[in-house]
């Protein structure tokens, strides 16, 4: 089955701000549904901040293919601390395989404070954004709207999650701006 690559280019053009919306799927109807679900909101940071370079969607798709990710995998992002990054890299599992729910998004800002705001995070600012693929046989729930954090971060970004051990293929690591 031909691989359908869905890029939210139309939204990017109309919004006039950069962002990344990538989903690779083996089935076009499924891809269409995902496109509808992920192209309605911008969570990539302050307008003009250019948190993700133009063409990043295509770049991510190329990275996915170059890394040998299986067809049908999906691409997401999570902002993490340095310690979590190291645990994730060494284990190949989201959050290093720690217990609990694995939250992530489809588009995290590279601005640490903005990511904190949009993702409703508490605690210290995160250090890195990882972009990763998840195999199609892993149940991913969402998207949903991120609720506000306890420390007043408003949330509003897009949230997905898994409850099971989630092997991932890290496609890219970017330091967050402070």
């Amino acid at each position: 089955m031909a691989l359908a690559i869905v890029v939210g280019a139309a939204w990017l053009l109309t919004a006039g701000v950069p962002g990344i919306v990538v989903a690779t799927y083996a089935a076009a109807p499924k891809a269409a549904a995902i496109l509808e679900s992920v192209t309605s909101e911008y969570s990539g940071g302050p307008v003009g901040a250019s948190p993700v370079p133009l063409g990043a969607a295509a770049q991510a798709a190329e990275e996915l293919a170059a890394r040998g990710a299986p067809s049908g995998s999906r691409v997401f992002e999570r902002v993490v601390s340095r310690a979590e990054l190291e645990a994730t890299q060494s284990s190949g599992v989201l959050r290093g395989g720690r217990s609990g729910r694995n939250f992530f998004t489809n588009n995290a800002s590279l601005d640490a404070k903005w990511a904190q705001q949009r993702l409703g995070l508490d605690g210290p600012l995160r250090d890195f954004r990882i972009r990763f693929s998840v195999a199609d046989d892993i149940k991913v729930s969402g998207p949903g709207r991120v609720p506000g954090g306890q420390s007043g971060t408003p949330g509003g970004g897009r949230e997905f999650f898994t409850d099971d051990l989630t092997p991932i293929d890290i496609l890219r690591v970017d330091p967050l701006r402070r």
Binding site: G100, P124, G144, G149, Q150, S151
Partner: protein, 119 residues
């Protein structure tokens, strides 16, 4: 409205933040419900850790748990349904507050997200 959760033992399985989870090895935290309420926002729980711990020089014994999502409620715990909550450490003197569930004063500190379930 009061629901019958006071005195129940709960297990809190933290998901975030990373540093807090690492500090106690991500083991489920056992806590007792000190007070509970239900309102149109899903209610809230005031719980006391059975084994208080120190995190970043802060003694963590009492927490307020509030459902993370609009469509969930702590009332679900009464029928054994786990609830994903925002969990916020509060100082002991908050137990004497008129509304011990109120977090409007909170400006930062120990907080996380975790699943709360009855033991």
């Amino acid at each position: 409205m009061t629901i019958r959760l006071k005195g129940k033992t709960l297990l809190i399985k933290l998901s975030d933040p990373w540093d807090l989870g690492e500090s106690f090895g991500w083991q489920p935290l056992s806590a007792v419900v000190v007070a509970a309420k239900v309102d149109d926002k899903g209610g809230a729980l005031l719980v006391r850790m059975k084994s208080p711990f120190i995190y970043k020089d802060v003694r963590c014994e009492y927490f307020v748990a509030v459902p993370r999502y609009d469509n969930s409620s702590v009332a679900g715990l009464a029928v054994g349904r786990p609830v994903l909550c925002a969990i916020t450490r509060v100082p002991e003197d908050r137990l004497e507050a008129e509304d011990p569930f109120d977090l409007s004063w909170w400006r930062g500190g120990v907080a996380g997200i975790g699943e709360v379930a009855t033991e």
